[in-house]
Symmetry: C2
């Protein structure tokens, strides 16, 4: 750092990852006397909290994506680079992207997390998760493809398997997926088929812990459970998936082992830190927790490297409560803002007290006019919670993009139960969504 100040070259900040953490870091450095390089594998920031709506046909991927270049179009100190970081040299202060070497004075690693299948990585193809646009399109293909396959199936047992949806994981994503599929089956698609009755659809939510939405207050979990059950979702708590094979989900509830025949299994369970965590650990000696998250210092740097920050889902920040902070957008956002502020302070020879997350509460959408909101001092359920949920998401969305219209569109689709985005695209295998085919290059995109 002193180096670049002496040479009068602006301080070089490299941010890896354009999720909430990276985006807010870069945004809050836009007017500072630094050069920012933002590296991401994709050319857009994804508003992940609404990704389940793409998976269930209410929104299009473009509706919840902001092109990174457009976000930073007017930040002339910021360069967006499309690519994947392959290595880091913390001694030489360099980031490697294939053959390209990018020097930094300060590095922010905000590459997020992936799904964890608890060591059974081959389950990934059987039960896709929901992290990327491609994941969402794949889920959408499977969900709508299942109804199509059921419509054609004459064997009652196979038809029933097509009409059975199993969601593994009772956190916000699992709850939101289960609620959305219930609305699809029991409301939106009700009139659309001729051979099947979509009200025969079974939706089963499997949760490892003793209640769904465990990060919320117990009475809100209970409220969510009642609402989901009223929508038609079967909830199994204290339940662990022990096997996925031949369209059969085997699970253990207490001491009892059961099996469900289902053609559509969706994964909303474990999370593990992205591979950048391992690279950091190898190169810097920093520790990771059991989920591959990097243990960070109170100021979000890593041990021995005051110029490397890890934020967002990849960070394990345990200086505020016994449990690490959860992997949610508001934590990443606040950490990004904190890091930007600390960098600016440091440039003036000053510092900041340790990072402190100010809890904005948590919320989950269950169905139309139905949500649960836990603000700590205030708990909302039902329609009021739904309106609150909507307002919060509008606020978040418009903060870095003029997307009011998108939210109107979403609300409009929601109210009219319009699912115009329920395209089955990509692979041709609409009859057998779980069969991986080699499609032609043009169909590959």
């Amino acid at each position: 750092m002193t180096d670049s100040v002496e040479k009068n070259v602006p301080h070089q900040v490299v941010v890896i990852g354009g999720g909430f953490g990276g985006l807010y870091t870069a945004k809050h450095l836009a007017h500072a006397n630094v050069n920012v390089t933002l590296i991401d594998k994709r050319n857009f920031h994804l508003f992940q909290p609404l990704l389940y709506q793409v998976a269930t046909g209410t929104l299009s991927p473009g509706d919840i994506s902001s092109p990174l270049r457009a976000v930073f179009s007017k930040s002339k100190n910021t360069q967006v680079l499309l690519g994947e970081v392959s290595d880091i040299d913390p001694k030489a202060q360099k980031v490697m992207m294939g053959n390209q070497v990018i020097p930094y004075d300060t590095l922010i690693v905000a590459t997020g997390a992936n799904h964890s299948y608890f060591g059974k990585e081959h389950w990934k193809d059987l039960a896709p998760g929901l992290k990327t646009v491609e994941d969402a399109i794949e889920m959408r293909r499977r969900i709508f493809g299942a109804f199509e396959a059921a419509e054609k199936e004459t064997d009652p047992e196979k038809r029933s398997a097509w009409l059975t949806f199993v969601i593994v994981g009772g956190g916000p994503t699992g709850v939101e997926l289960a609620g959305a599929i219930a609305e699809l089956a029991y409301k939106t698609l009700k009139e659309d088929f001729r051979s099947i009755d979509t009200s025969e659809t079974k939706i089963i939510l499997l949760q490892g812990g003793d209640r769904i939405l465990p990060h919320m207050a117990p009475d809100l979990s209970e409220e969510a459970r009642l609402s989901l059950q009223e929508l038609g979702v079967n909830i199994h708590t204290n339940t662990r998936v022990t096997n996925l094979e031949n369209d059969i989900v085997t699970f253990k509830q207490g001491g009892e082992v059961s099996a469900i025949h289902s053609k559509t299994i969706l994964w909303a369970a474990g999370v593990k830190g992205s591979t950048m965590g391992q690279i950091l650990a190898e190169r810097t000696g920093v520790d990771c927790d059991h989920a591959g998250r990097v243990i960070v210092e109170p100021d979000l740097t890593i041990r021995d490297y005051k110029n490397i920050f890890v934020i967002g889902d990849l960070a394990n920040f345990s200086h505020q409560a016994i449990k690490p902070l959860p992997g949610v957008a508001p934590v990443a956002k606040q950490q990004g803002e904190y890091v930007a502020k600390l960098i600016k302070r440091r440039l003036r020879g000053r510092t900041l007290p340790q990072f402190h997350y100010s809890d904005v509460g948590s919320l989950a959408m269950i169905g139309q006019n139905l949500a649960v909101v836990d603000l700590g001092f205030l708990k909302l359920t039902g329609f009021l919670a739904w309106v609150f949920w909507l307002v919060v998401h509008i606020y978040f969305l418009i903060e870095f993009d003029t997307k009011l219209l998108v939210v109107f569109q979403w609300a409009w689709n929601y109210i009219t139960r319009n699912r115009r985005s329920r395209l089955i695209t990509g692979r041709e295998a609409f009859t057998e969504p779980q069969t991986v085919k080699n499609s032609s290059p043009l169909l590959d995109a």
Copy 2:
């Protein structure tokens, strides 16, 4: 037909294809005493006239798609079947879909057309066309990927090849693509890059004939040419592509052979009838023209089979003018309506005079506030034409779907030059868009 009337079983109508032709046939049979089976490979109708806007990042695929089941949700006599017809038995009056056999009394074949590469089918990967959602996403990936690759490229010659776009074909699609890419490069993306100046982008439109938009009046072609040139598009008429290889487009203009180095070549040229045309020819002995279109009788049936209709882009209808009717949405729509009416008349023992296309004119969008419209009795250019274009498309879109909001969104994006749908998705190869990689199954969708 007499058969089913005697048995008092409703007349069975099978429609193959859910494009404009098939959709309007089925729609206009919704309240008739017939059973309709609509077969399509996809679960949605695609509003193809706006597909180029998906390819250039203004709209999302969902914005221009209507789920077929939703369109026919209230038409209880209509069943939508997802699948691909493999064969037809015109004697037994049956359609085969793999193992499934679907009997018909009347058959409507409306499977449209594909791109023709004039015998050079291997050009398809080098120069993708624009017929499907996947095509549009692939084009979008290549167009936005090219700017990204240029931003990273340090070699000036290669950089220039990334910033050179060649569009083959000067019909409406070619003109609309060229105009949209010009607006992208010279306006929308102008501030977004740091290493390249997008105003150095070259956009080259190659047209075989002596003017672009040859289906319009000569003075409108000229107007379109001037507008495109003003936007920055290079137009070469009387030009034929002779080779595509190693990112080099070789073409012949008059006697002169030239070559352009370009990484992004888009195909908007030849059209050939879909393979259902060949199947029909083999099974019924009907003739096809050189472009694989089925020669139809004045009432849109085929020779020797009064109960088989061919409509839309697959039909060659030459009973009105010397040239066959063009492959555009209004023709398909009117033919679908005609066939539905004729079927209803026949059920009452009556008939109809031959099909007559009432020309609604033609129009093409060139850029923001810029279009050309030819209604025969009225010719419009510039802003007025643009407004007219918009009104026509709104009218078309809302006719079978309540998509007013989508059109507002489109207009909004257009006015604000917002290209939020410019995601590069699917394949990972953002640096080398033309390299086909084997991606993981989850990235494949």
